[in-house]
Protein backbone atom coordinates (compact mmCIF):
# COMPACT_ATOMS: atom_id res chain seq x y z
CA UNK A 1 0.00 0.00 0.00
CA UNK A 2 0.97 3.56 -0.73
CA UNK A 3 -0.12 6.93 0.47
CA UNK A 4 -0.18 10.48 -0.71
CA UNK A 5 -1.04 13.66 1.13
CA UNK A 6 -4.29 15.26 0.09
CA UNK A 7 -2.54 18.45 -0.88
CA UNK A 8 -0.33 16.52 -3.32
CA UNK A 9 -3.21 15.02 -5.21
CA UNK A 10 -2.95 17.64 -7.94
CA UNK A 11 0.60 16.44 -8.61
CA UNK A 12 -0.73 12.90 -8.85
CA UNK A 13 -3.46 13.93 -11.26
CA UNK A 14 -1.03 15.95 -13.33
CA UNK A 15 1.27 12.97 -13.55
CA UNK A 16 -1.49 10.59 -14.61
CA UNK A 17 -2.96 13.07 -17.05
CA UNK A 18 0.45 13.57 -18.59
CA UNK A 19 0.39 10.06 -19.97
CA UNK A 20 -3.27 9.32 -20.41
CA UNK A 21 -6.72 10.75 -20.06
CA UNK A 22 -7.96 11.08 -16.51
CA UNK A 23 -11.62 11.12 -15.55
CA UNK A 24 -12.63 12.07 -12.06
CA UNK A 25 -15.41 13.85 -10.18
CA UNK A 26 -15.46 17.47 -11.31
CA UNK A 27 -17.79 20.18 -10.14
CA UNK A 28 -19.41 22.21 -12.91
CA UNK A 29 -22.09 24.76 -12.14
CA UNK A 30 -22.66 23.35 -8.65
CA UNK A 31 -23.00 19.75 -9.75
CA UNK A 32 -20.49 16.95 -9.49
CA UNK A 33 -20.10 14.61 -12.42
CA UNK A 34 -17.20 12.63 -13.78
CA UNK A 35 -15.25 14.67 -16.27
CA UNK A 36 -11.85 15.03 -17.81
CA UNK A 37 -9.19 16.43 -15.51
CA UNK A 38 -7.56 19.67 -16.47
CA UNK A 39 -5.59 22.23 -14.49
CA UNK A 40 -8.61 24.43 -14.01
CA UNK A 41 -11.13 21.67 -13.36
CA UNK A 42 -12.64 21.86 -9.90
CA UNK A 43 -12.03 18.36 -8.56
CA UNK A 44 -14.52 17.32 -5.88
CA UNK A 45 -13.72 14.13 -3.97
CA UNK A 46 -15.86 15.02 -0.97
CA UNK A 47 -19.26 14.72 -2.61
CA UNK A 48 -20.25 11.10 -2.19
CA UNK A 49 -22.16 10.58 -5.40
CA UNK A 50 -21.75 12.12 -8.80
CA UNK A 51 -25.13 13.00 -10.31
CA UNK A 52 -24.60 10.72 -13.26
CA UNK A 53 -22.89 7.43 -12.56
CA UNK A 54 -19.44 7.17 -14.13
CA UNK A 55 -20.64 4.47 -16.51
CA UNK A 56 -20.27 6.80 -19.46
CA UNK A 57 -16.52 6.44 -19.29
CA UNK A 58 -17.12 3.01 -20.78
CA UNK A 59 -20.55 3.44 -22.27
CA UNK A 60 -20.94 7.08 -23.27
CA UNK A 61 -24.36 8.69 -23.41
CA UNK A 62 -23.92 8.89 -27.14
CA UNK A 63 -21.25 7.64 -29.46
CA UNK A 64 -20.80 7.50 -33.15
CA UNK A 65 -20.74 4.05 -34.74
CA UNK A 66 -19.98 4.88 -38.32
CA UNK A 67 -20.24 7.63 -40.87
CA UNK A 68 -21.64 7.38 -44.37
CA UNK A 69 -20.41 9.80 -46.94
CA UNK A 70 -21.81 10.48 -50.33
CA UNK A 71 -19.71 11.61 -53.23
CA UNK A 72 -21.84 11.93 -56.31
CA UNK A 73 -23.69 8.69 -56.50
CA UNK A 74 -20.99 6.80 -54.59
CA UNK A 75 -21.47 6.03 -50.93
CA UNK A 76 -18.63 5.18 -48.57
CA UNK A 77 -18.86 3.93 -45.00
CA UNK A 78 -16.27 4.76 -42.39
CA UNK A 79 -16.56 2.89 -39.08
CA UNK A 80 -15.74 4.92 -36.01
CA UNK A 81 -12.31 4.12 -34.59
CA UNK A 82 -12.21 2.13 -31.36
CA UNK A 83 -10.68 3.59 -28.23
CA UNK A 84 -6.94 3.12 -28.48
CA UNK A 85 -5.66 5.35 -25.75
CA UNK A 86 -5.35 4.31 -22.14
CA UNK A 87 -7.30 6.24 -19.56
CA UNK A 88 -7.80 6.27 -15.84
CA UNK A 89 -11.03 6.76 -14.03
CA UNK A 90 -10.40 7.95 -10.54
CA UNK A 91 -12.77 8.08 -7.60
CA UNK A 92 -15.37 5.51 -8.55
CA UNK A 93 -17.28 4.07 -5.61
CA UNK A 94 -17.75 0.39 -4.87
CA UNK A 95 -21.31 0.42 -6.15
CA UNK A 96 -20.27 2.04 -9.43
CA UNK A 97 -17.52 -0.54 -9.84
CA UNK A 98 -20.15 -3.24 -9.43
CA UNK A 99 -22.18 -1.32 -12.00
CA UNK A 100 -19.38 -1.83 -14.50
CA UNK A 101 -19.40 -5.56 -13.72
CA UNK A 102 -23.10 -5.57 -14.60
CA UNK A 103 -22.37 -3.78 -17.86
CA UNK A 104 -19.62 -6.30 -18.59
CA UNK A 105 -22.19 -9.08 -18.41
CA UNK A 106 -24.13 -7.35 -21.13
CA UNK A 107 -21.51 -5.92 -23.41
CA UNK A 108 -18.72 -8.47 -23.07
CA UNK A 109 -20.98 -11.47 -23.54
CA UNK A 110 -21.20 -12.82 -27.02
CA UNK A 111 -21.56 -10.92 -29.33
CA UNK A 112 -18.99 -8.64 -27.78
CA UNK A 113 -19.61 -4.94 -28.07
CA UNK A 114 -16.30 -3.84 -29.53
CA UNK A 115 -16.67 -0.19 -28.61
CA UNK A 116 -17.30 -1.10 -24.98
CA UNK A 117 -14.62 -3.77 -24.92
CA UNK A 118 -12.01 -1.36 -26.24
CA UNK A 119 -12.81 1.11 -23.52
CA UNK A 120 -12.70 -1.58 -20.85
CA UNK A 121 -9.33 -2.76 -22.14
CA UNK A 122 -7.87 0.69 -21.99
CA UNK A 123 -9.45 1.89 -18.80
CA UNK A 124 -7.95 1.57 -15.33
CA UNK A 125 -10.34 2.03 -12.43
CA UNK A 126 -9.12 3.71 -9.29
CA UNK A 127 -11.91 3.32 -6.76
CA UNK A 128 -12.40 5.09 -3.49
CA UNK A 129 -14.03 3.85 -0.34
CA UNK A 130 -17.15 5.75 0.77
CA UNK A 131 -16.07 7.88 3.69
CA UNK A 132 -19.54 8.85 4.83
CA UNK A 133 -22.30 6.76 3.24
CA UNK A 134 -25.69 8.39 3.05
CA UNK A 135 -29.27 7.46 3.83
CA UNK A 136 -30.11 6.69 0.20
CA UNK A 137 -27.34 4.08 -0.05
CA UNK A 138 -28.16 0.37 0.02
CA UNK A 139 -25.18 -1.32 -1.62
CA UNK A 140 -24.93 -3.69 1.31
CA UNK A 141 -28.19 -5.29 0.15
CA UNK A 142 -26.34 -6.46 -2.95
CA UNK A 143 -23.35 -7.67 -1.06
CA UNK A 144 -21.17 -4.73 -1.89
CA UNK A 145 -18.67 -3.52 0.65
CA UNK A 146 -18.23 0.18 0.14
CA UNK A 147 -15.31 0.13 2.54
CA UNK A 148 -13.35 -2.15 0.24
CA UNK A 149 -14.03 -1.38 -3.41
CA UNK A 150 -12.98 -4.08 -5.85
CA UNK A 151 -11.17 -2.18 -8.59
CA UNK A 152 -7.75 -1.95 -10.23
CA UNK A 153 -6.70 0.31 -7.43
CA UNK A 154 -8.57 0.86 -4.18
CA UNK A 155 -8.10 4.08 -2.25
CA UNK A 156 -9.20 5.47 1.10
CA UNK A 157 -9.28 9.03 2.13
CA UNK A 158 -8.46 9.18 5.81
CA UNK A 159 -8.28 12.74 7.14
CA UNK A 160 -5.59 14.36 4.95
CA UNK A 161 -4.06 11.23 3.46
CA UNK A 162 -5.12 9.20 0.49
CA UNK A 163 -4.17 5.55 0.80
CA UNK A 164 -3.55 3.74 -2.45
CA UNK A 165 -3.65 -0.01 -2.88
CA UNK A 166 -3.21 -1.65 -6.30
CA UNK A 167 -5.32 -4.79 -6.63
CA UNK A 168 -4.78 -5.92 -10.20
CA UNK A 169 -2.06 -5.97 -12.82
CA UNK A 170 -3.51 -2.86 -14.39
CA UNK A 171 -3.47 -1.29 -10.97
CA UNK A 172 0.14 -2.25 -10.45
CA UNK A 173 1.08 -0.85 -13.83
CA UNK A 174 -0.60 2.44 -13.07
CA UNK A 175 1.04 2.55 -9.67
CA UNK A 176 4.45 2.19 -11.31
CA UNK A 177 3.86 5.26 -13.44
CA UNK A 178 2.96 7.38 -10.45
CA UNK A 179 5.30 5.93 -7.87
CA UNK A 180 7.33 9.11 -7.85
CA UNK A 181 4.58 11.00 -6.06
CA UNK A 182 3.49 8.14 -3.80
CA UNK A 183 4.98 7.19 -0.46
CA UNK A 184 5.06 3.65 0.83
CA UNK A 185 2.57 3.09 3.64
CA UNK A 186 3.65 1.53 6.93
CA UNK A 187 1.80 -0.59 9.47
CA UNK A 188 0.40 2.42 11.25
CA UNK A 189 -1.11 3.48 7.98
CA UNK A 190 -2.55 0.02 7.38
CA UNK A 191 -4.14 0.31 10.75
CA UNK A 192 -5.63 3.69 9.97
CA UNK A 193 -7.22 2.24 6.84
CA UNK A 194 -8.62 -0.67 8.79
CA UNK A 195 -10.08 1.75 11.31
CA UNK A 196 -11.64 3.74 8.50
CA UNK A 197 -13.08 0.56 7.04
CA UNK A 198 -14.69 -0.52 10.24
CA UNK A 199 -16.03 3.00 10.79
CA UNK A 200 -17.61 2.89 7.34
CA UNK A 201 -19.06 -0.54 7.93
CA UNK A 202 -20.43 0.67 11.23
CA UNK A 203 -22.25 3.52 9.53
CA UNK A 204 -23.56 1.22 6.80
CA UNK A 205 -25.19 -0.87 9.49
CA UNK A 206 -27.08 2.19 10.66
CA UNK A 207 -28.34 3.20 7.22
CA UNK A 208 -32.13 2.98 6.92
CA UNK A 209 -32.08 0.85 3.76
CA UNK A 210 -29.34 -1.53 4.78
CA UNK A 211 -31.71 -4.15 6.10
CA UNK A 212 -33.80 -4.17 2.99
CA UNK A 213 -34.70 -7.71 2.14
CA UNK A 214 -34.55 -9.17 -1.33
CA UNK A 215 -36.27 -12.28 -0.24
CA UNK A 216 -39.07 -13.05 -2.58
CA UNK A 217 -37.11 -11.83 -5.61
CA UNK A 218 -34.88 -14.83 -5.99
CA UNK A 219 -36.09 -18.03 -7.43
CA UNK A 220 -38.82 -18.66 -9.96
CA UNK A 221 -40.93 -15.61 -9.31
CA UNK A 222 -41.29 -14.15 -12.77
CA UNK A 223 -44.95 -14.83 -13.39
CA UNK A 224 -45.97 -14.04 -9.86
CA UNK A 225 -44.25 -10.66 -9.87
CA UNK A 226 -45.20 -9.82 -13.44
CA UNK A 227 -48.88 -10.41 -12.80
CA UNK A 228 -48.98 -8.59 -9.50
CA UNK A 229 -51.70 -6.02 -9.11
CA UNK A 230 -49.26 -3.81 -7.23
CA UNK A 231 -47.70 -2.40 -10.38
CA UNK A 232 -50.99 -0.75 -11.28
CA UNK A 233 -50.70 1.30 -8.11
CA UNK A 234 -46.95 1.79 -7.96
CA UNK A 235 -46.48 3.31 -11.40
CA UNK A 236 -49.15 6.01 -10.96
CA UNK A 237 -46.91 8.93 -9.92
CA UNK A 238 -44.33 8.05 -12.60
CA UNK A 239 -43.81 10.95 -15.02
CA UNK A 240 -42.25 8.73 -17.66
CA UNK A 241 -39.03 10.71 -17.65
CA UNK A 242 -35.66 9.03 -17.90
CA UNK A 243 -33.97 10.43 -14.83
CA UNK A 244 -33.67 7.10 -13.01
CA UNK A 245 -32.29 5.46 -16.13
CA UNK A 246 -29.79 8.14 -16.97
CA UNK A 247 -28.32 8.44 -13.49
CA UNK A 248 -28.24 4.65 -13.04
CA UNK A 249 -24.87 2.89 -13.17
CA UNK A 250 -26.32 -0.29 -14.65
CA UNK A 251 -28.97 0.76 -17.16
CA UNK A 252 -27.55 -0.28 -20.47
CA UNK A 253 -30.29 0.23 -23.05
CA UNK A 254 -29.51 2.31 -26.06
CA UNK A 255 -31.13 3.41 -29.27
CA UNK A 256 -29.46 3.65 -32.64
CA UNK A 257 -30.17 6.66 -34.75
CA UNK A 258 -29.01 8.44 -37.86
CA UNK A 259 -28.01 12.05 -38.07
CA UNK A 260 -27.79 13.90 -41.35
CA UNK A 261 -24.81 16.21 -41.15
CA UNK A 262 -25.34 17.59 -44.62
CA UNK A 263 -22.15 15.91 -45.81
CA UNK A 264 -23.24 12.47 -44.91
CA UNK A 265 -25.01 10.46 -42.29
CA UNK A 266 -23.66 9.57 -38.89
CA UNK A 267 -25.04 6.50 -37.27
CA UNK A 268 -24.78 6.82 -33.55
CA UNK A 269 -26.13 5.18 -30.48
CA UNK A 270 -27.41 6.94 -27.43
CA UNK A 271 -28.80 5.93 -24.08
CA UNK A 272 -32.46 5.14 -24.14
CA UNK A 273 -34.86 4.67 -21.30
CA UNK A 274 -37.44 1.96 -20.93
CA UNK A 275 -39.57 4.62 -19.27
CA UNK A 276 -39.98 6.49 -22.57
CA UNK A 277 -43.10 6.01 -24.63
CA UNK A 278 -41.10 5.46 -27.79
CA UNK A 279 -38.69 2.95 -26.25
CA UNK A 280 -38.30 -0.02 -28.58
CA UNK A 281 -40.76 1.55 -30.95
CA UNK A 282 -40.92 -0.50 -34.09
CA UNK A 283 -42.74 -0.26 -37.36
CA UNK A 284 -45.73 -2.06 -35.97
CA UNK A 285 -45.83 0.06 -32.85
CA UNK A 286 -44.66 -0.47 -29.34
CA UNK A 287 -44.65 -3.73 -27.44
CA UNK A 288 -45.29 -1.95 -24.16
CA UNK A 289 -48.19 0.37 -24.67
CA UNK A 290 -48.85 1.68 -21.20
CA UNK A 291 -46.69 3.45 -18.67
CA UNK A 292 -47.49 0.72 -16.15
CA UNK A 293 -45.88 -1.84 -18.46
CA UNK A 294 -42.87 0.37 -19.00
CA UNK A 295 -42.51 1.00 -15.28
CA UNK A 296 -42.81 -2.68 -14.52
CA UNK A 297 -40.20 -3.47 -17.17
CA UNK A 298 -37.54 -1.44 -15.48
CA UNK A 299 -37.85 -3.12 -12.10
CA UNK A 300 -38.57 -6.57 -13.41
CA UNK A 301 -35.42 -6.28 -15.48
CA UNK A 302 -33.28 -5.20 -12.57
CA UNK A 303 -34.64 -7.65 -10.06
CA UNK A 304 -35.90 -10.64 -12.02
CA UNK A 305 -34.90 -10.90 -15.68
CA UNK A 306 -31.29 -9.89 -15.28
CA UNK A 307 -30.49 -12.20 -12.33
CA UNK A 308 -32.27 -15.03 -14.10
CA UNK A 309 -29.81 -14.71 -16.98
CA UNK A 310 -26.73 -13.84 -14.98
CA UNK A 311 -26.36 -16.33 -12.17
CA UNK A 312 -28.47 -14.38 -9.76
CA UNK A 313 -26.64 -11.09 -10.17
CA UNK A 314 -29.08 -8.25 -9.67
CA UNK A 315 -28.67 -5.31 -12.01
CA UNK A 316 -29.12 -2.87 -9.19
CA UNK A 317 -26.12 -1.91 -7.11
CA UNK A 318 -27.84 0.18 -4.45
CA UNK A 319 -26.14 3.44 -5.31
CA UNK A 320 -29.35 5.28 -4.43
CA UNK A 321 -29.14 7.85 -7.20
CA UNK A 322 -32.69 7.13 -8.35
CA UNK A 323 -33.81 7.50 -4.74
CA UNK A 324 -32.37 10.98 -4.68
CA UNK A 325 -33.26 12.14 -8.15
CA UNK A 326 -36.70 10.80 -9.08
CA UNK A 327 -38.97 13.83 -9.59
CA UNK A 328 -41.93 11.86 -8.27
CA UNK A 329 -40.01 10.30 -5.36
CA UNK A 330 -40.37 6.82 -6.78
CA UNK A 331 -37.55 4.33 -6.66
CA UNK A 332 -36.56 0.71 -6.59
CA UNK A 333 -36.55 0.65 -2.79
CA UNK A 334 -40.18 1.65 -2.63
CA UNK A 335 -40.97 -1.09 -5.15
CA UNK A 336 -39.11 -3.73 -3.14
CA UNK A 337 -40.76 -2.57 0.06
CA UNK A 338 -44.21 -2.57 -1.48
CA UNK A 339 -43.83 -6.19 -2.50
CA UNK A 340 -42.37 -7.05 0.87
CA UNK A 341 -45.31 -5.44 2.61
CA UNK A 342 -47.77 -7.23 0.38
CA UNK A 343 -45.95 -10.51 1.02
CA UNK A 344 -46.14 -9.76 4.70
CA UNK A 345 -49.85 -9.11 4.50
CA UNK A 346 -50.38 -12.32 2.62
CA UNK A 347 -48.46 -14.32 5.17
Amino acid sequence: MYKIAKENLTALFRLIAGAQELYLPVKTAEQVNFGVWSEDAEVDLDTLKSVKSPKDAFFPQSENLYTCRKDGKKISIEPEALKEQNFVIFGMKACDVRGVEVLDKVFLADPIDTFYAARRDHGTIVAMACHEPEESCFCKVFGIDCAEPAADVATWMVSDQLYWKPLTEKGEALTKTVESVLEAADDADEKKVEEEQSAIRGIVEKLPYSNLSLEGWNGDVLTEKFDSALWEELYKPCLACGTCTFVCPTCQCYDIKDYDTGHGVQRYRCWDSCMYSDFTMMAHGNNRTSQMQRFRQRFMHKLVYFPANNDGMYSCVGCGRCVEKCPAALNIVKVIKAFEKQGGEKA
Binding site: Y259, T261, G262, H263, Q266
Partner: protein, 147 residues
Protein backbone atom coordinates in the same frame (compact mmCIF):
# COMPACT_ATOMS: atom_id res chain seq x y z
CA UNK B 1 -9.92 40.82 -39.86
CA UNK B 2 -7.79 41.01 -42.92
CA UNK B 3 -9.27 41.48 -46.34
CA UNK B 4 -8.17 38.05 -47.48
CA UNK B 5 -9.86 36.35 -44.55
CA UNK B 6 -13.00 38.32 -45.29
CA UNK B 7 -13.00 37.03 -48.81
CA UNK B 8 -12.63 33.47 -47.68
CA UNK B 9 -15.65 33.49 -45.43
CA UNK B 10 -18.79 32.88 -47.46
CA UNK B 11 -21.66 32.93 -45.03
CA UNK B 12 -24.66 30.70 -45.38
CA UNK B 13 -27.78 32.77 -45.12
CA UNK B 14 -31.33 31.54 -45.18
CA UNK B 15 -34.11 33.97 -45.98
CA UNK B 16 -37.71 33.02 -45.33
CA UNK B 17 -39.97 35.08 -47.56
CA UNK B 18 -43.72 35.17 -47.56
CA UNK B 19 -45.26 34.37 -50.88
CA UNK B 20 -47.36 37.48 -51.27
CA UNK B 21 -45.10 40.37 -50.43
CA UNK B 22 -41.48 39.57 -49.76
CA UNK B 23 -41.04 36.77 -52.27
CA UNK B 24 -42.58 39.08 -54.86
CA UNK B 25 -40.31 41.85 -53.58
CA UNK B 26 -37.36 39.53 -54.15
CA UNK B 27 -38.69 38.83 -57.63
CA UNK B 28 -38.90 42.55 -58.26
CA UNK B 29 -35.34 42.99 -57.04
CA UNK B 30 -34.45 40.33 -59.58
CA UNK B 31 -36.32 41.84 -62.48
CA UNK B 32 -34.89 45.24 -61.59
CA UNK B 33 -31.41 43.65 -61.53
CA UNK B 34 -30.79 44.89 -58.00
CA UNK B 35 -28.04 42.59 -56.89
CA UNK B 36 -27.19 41.14 -53.52
CA UNK B 37 -24.68 38.46 -52.55
CA UNK B 38 -25.33 34.91 -53.67
CA UNK B 39 -24.93 33.80 -50.06
CA UNK B 40 -28.61 34.52 -49.53
CA UNK B 41 -30.93 31.66 -50.40
CA UNK B 42 -34.64 32.18 -50.24
CA UNK B 43 -37.24 29.74 -48.97
CA UNK B 44 -40.80 30.51 -49.97
CA UNK B 45 -43.46 30.21 -47.28
CA UNK B 46 -47.08 31.23 -47.63
CA UNK B 47 -46.87 33.76 -44.83
CA UNK B 48 -44.37 34.93 -42.26
CA UNK B 49 -46.60 33.29 -39.67
CA UNK B 50 -45.66 29.92 -41.20
CA UNK B 51 -42.10 30.36 -39.98
CA UNK B 52 -41.62 28.13 -36.99
CA UNK B 53 -38.81 29.07 -34.60
CA UNK B 54 -37.77 25.50 -35.10
CA UNK B 55 -36.96 26.26 -38.75
CA UNK B 56 -34.67 29.06 -37.71
CA UNK B 57 -32.87 26.97 -35.11
CA UNK B 58 -32.61 24.15 -37.60
CA UNK B 59 -30.91 26.44 -40.08
CA UNK B 60 -28.37 27.40 -37.45
CA UNK B 61 -27.97 23.78 -36.42
CA UNK B 62 -27.07 22.82 -39.95
CA UNK B 63 -24.53 25.56 -40.30
CA UNK B 64 -26.33 28.75 -41.30
CA UNK B 65 -24.55 31.93 -40.27
CA UNK B 66 -27.60 34.14 -40.46
CA UNK B 67 -31.34 33.80 -40.83
CA UNK B 68 -33.63 36.57 -41.99
CA UNK B 69 -37.37 36.49 -42.20
CA UNK B 70 -39.29 38.80 -44.49
CA UNK B 71 -43.03 39.35 -44.57
CA UNK B 72 -45.66 41.82 -45.62
CA UNK B 73 -45.69 45.11 -43.76
CA UNK B 74 -47.80 44.97 -40.61
CA UNK B 75 -51.33 45.67 -41.72
CA UNK B 76 -50.74 44.42 -45.23
CA UNK B 77 -50.67 40.71 -44.58
CA UNK B 78 -52.39 38.73 -47.27
CA UNK B 79 -53.96 36.73 -44.50
CA UNK B 80 -54.77 39.87 -42.49
CA UNK B 81 -53.00 39.06 -39.28
CA UNK B 82 -50.29 36.50 -39.95
CA UNK B 83 -47.37 38.86 -39.69
CA UNK B 84 -48.60 40.23 -36.37
CA UNK B 85 -48.25 36.78 -34.85
CA UNK B 86 -44.94 36.30 -36.61
CA UNK B 87 -43.74 39.60 -35.19
CA UNK B 88 -44.41 38.51 -31.62
CA UNK B 89 -42.91 35.08 -32.14
CA UNK B 90 -39.76 36.41 -33.69
CA UNK B 91 -39.36 39.18 -31.13
CA UNK B 92 -39.42 36.62 -28.35
CA UNK B 93 -37.23 34.14 -30.16
CA UNK B 94 -34.62 36.73 -31.02
CA UNK B 95 -34.67 37.99 -27.48
CA UNK B 96 -34.06 34.46 -26.24
CA UNK B 97 -31.20 33.92 -28.66
CA UNK B 98 -29.67 37.17 -27.49
CA UNK B 99 -30.18 36.02 -23.92
CA UNK B 100 -28.24 32.83 -24.37
CA UNK B 101 -25.40 34.73 -25.96
CA UNK B 102 -25.98 34.30 -29.67
CA UNK B 103 -24.84 37.46 -31.41
CA UNK B 104 -27.86 39.60 -32.01
CA UNK B 105 -27.27 40.46 -35.65
CA UNK B 106 -27.53 36.88 -36.86
CA UNK B 107 -31.28 37.06 -36.97
CA UNK B 108 -33.39 39.74 -38.51
CA UNK B 109 -36.94 40.45 -39.52
CA UNK B 110 -37.72 42.89 -42.29
CA UNK B 111 -41.06 43.78 -43.78
CA UNK B 112 -40.77 43.98 -47.54
CA UNK B 113 -43.73 44.60 -49.82
CA UNK B 114 -44.13 43.30 -53.35
CA UNK B 115 -43.23 46.77 -54.58
CA UNK B 116 -40.05 47.08 -52.56
CA UNK B 117 -37.45 45.46 -54.76
CA UNK B 118 -34.98 48.13 -53.73
CA UNK B 119 -35.63 47.52 -50.07
CA UNK B 120 -35.23 43.79 -50.52
CA UNK B 121 -31.90 44.23 -52.19
CA UNK B 122 -30.54 46.79 -49.73
CA UNK B 123 -31.77 44.72 -46.80
CA UNK B 124 -29.99 41.63 -48.07
CA UNK B 125 -26.82 43.59 -48.76
CA UNK B 126 -26.89 45.03 -45.28
CA UNK B 127 -27.61 41.69 -43.68
CA UNK B 128 -24.81 39.92 -45.51
CA UNK B 129 -22.46 42.68 -44.48
CA UNK B 130 -23.58 42.31 -40.88
CA UNK B 131 -22.97 38.57 -40.97
CA UNK B 132 -19.55 39.24 -42.43
CA UNK B 133 -18.78 41.50 -39.53
CA UNK B 134 -19.92 38.84 -37.08
CA UNK B 135 -18.02 36.09 -38.82
CA UNK B 136 -18.75 32.41 -38.73
CA UNK B 137 -21.54 31.22 -36.48
CA UNK B 138 -19.93 29.14 -33.77
CA UNK B 139 -22.39 29.50 -30.95
CA UNK B 140 -25.47 27.93 -32.36
CA UNK B 141 -24.80 24.96 -34.50
CA UNK B 142 -24.21 21.26 -34.40
CA UNK B 143 -20.52 20.46 -34.54
CA UNK B 144 -21.21 17.42 -36.66
CA UNK B 145 -22.48 19.62 -39.48
CA UNK B 146 -19.28 21.58 -39.77
CA UNK B 147 -16.82 20.65 -42.42
Amino acid sequence: MSIEAKEEFRPKIVAFCCNWCSYAGADLAGSSRLGYPADVKIIRVPCSCRVNPMFILRAFEKGADGVIMCGCHPGDCHYSTGNYYARRRMTLLFSMLDYIGVENGRTRVEWVSAAEGVKFSTTMNEFVEKIHSLGKNVRLGDLRCRN
